[in-house]
């Protein structure tokens, strides 16, 4: 006698997979943050006990509250900053730029001036990246070599040293 075997269909229940998947998508979409991952970089110099920067050897940029700037004690429009720095660096390409910010000014004021100084590379080269200016020695001038941001404590230390001298 032939007994017909009963076939038991084996299957994985996938009905709830869509629910689980959408739940995971929603979780990751909500918790993943497209955070800002870019910014201005700068390297701090190693702290030395005797600061050797002489004021006449540098370009001093002072950021005032409201975003106005004074360069070498003379007030200057922000757009005139890079041309002024370029003119000075053409005479002496190693001149450091010292960026001092008034404590009453905002962080945004300081950053916009710092960003403008960092834009020198873009402004002083053409579309192909070739330098457009040369210094007195005939070397290409493509960037500001040193931008220093002294803190209030360092400025006070320098003044104390100068007073003692």
């Amino acid at each position: 006698m032939n007994i017909k075997k009963k076939e038991i269909a084996s299957e994985i229940f996938t009905g709830s997979m869509a629910d689980i998947s959408f739940l995971l998508i929603i979780y990751f979409m909500i918790t993943s943050a497209f955070s800002a991952t870019r910014g201005l970089d700068f390297a701090l110099p190693e702290e030395t006990d005797t600061p050797e920067i002489k004021q006449e050897d540098s370009i001093e940029v002072h950021v005032m509250p409201g975003g106005a700037i004074e360069v070498d004690k003379k007030s200057l429009p922000v757009d005139g900053l890079l041309p002024y720095v370029l003119e000075k660096l053409q005479q002496n390409p190693d001149k450091p730029v010292i960026l001092r910010t008034d404590p009453e000014a905002t962080y945004g004021d300081m950053i916009s001036v710092f960003d403008r100084l960092r834009r020198a590379n873009e402004e002083w080269t053409d579309d192909q990246g070739n330098p457009m200016f040369k210094d007195v020695n005939g070397n290409p001038l493509t960037e500001i070599k040193t931008i220093s941001i002294p803190t209030q404590r360092e400025i006070e230390n320098i003044w104390n040293l100068l007073d003692m001298g």
Partner: protein, 147 residues
């Protein structure tokens, strides 16, 4: 007279869902890969800059909240959630510990654009005292119309 109807033809309208699983899994994989825990969730308006470099992923984070939130300073190692600190000495201790572990440790400074510079100056000074070398000032992209 009753209308004799033929066998109704089932025109079953169907939405094709077989590819849904693929799409859903693709999305899940995308979100899993791009998922990044934001260590500091302080809402603020970052300053806008034209020059922007990519910041290292695992750098330590120091954030300064907007004035309305009391300009609170928070610190994070880049792996744990940022914790508020009450004095600048705590920032120095935190940064010194990080620099001791790795002398080339990078720090990200995330500060609101309207925060007073004196506060930022304190943090930068703390980092200098801790012998930190590399600092990234987090910013948003400055658009051409504002340039």
């Amino acid at each position: 007279m009753a209308l004799i109807r033929g066998r109704e033809r089932g025109t079953g309208a169907q939405i094709f869902t077989a590819s849904m699983a693929d799409i859903v899994f693709l999305l899940i994989v995308f979100f899993v890969l791009t998922y990044k825990v934001e260590v500091d969730k302080t809402q603020m308006n970052l300053p806008e800059t034209w020059v922007r470099k990519k910041v290292p992923e695992k750098a330590a984070v120091i954030s300064i909240a907007p004035r309305e939130q009391g300009s609170t300073i928070r610190v994070s190692t880049g792996e744990e959630m940022a914790l508020p600190v009450s004095t600048i000495e705590e920032v120095i201790t935190f940064a010194s510990t990080e620099v001791a572990k790795n002398p080339d440790r990078e720090f990200i400074l995330k500060a609101d654009q309207d925060v007073e510079y004196a506060k930022v100056d304190e943090v930068l000074d703390a980092l200098k005292q801790s012998k930190a070398k590399f600092i990234f000032l987090l910013s948003e992209q400055l658009t051409a119309d504002k340039k």
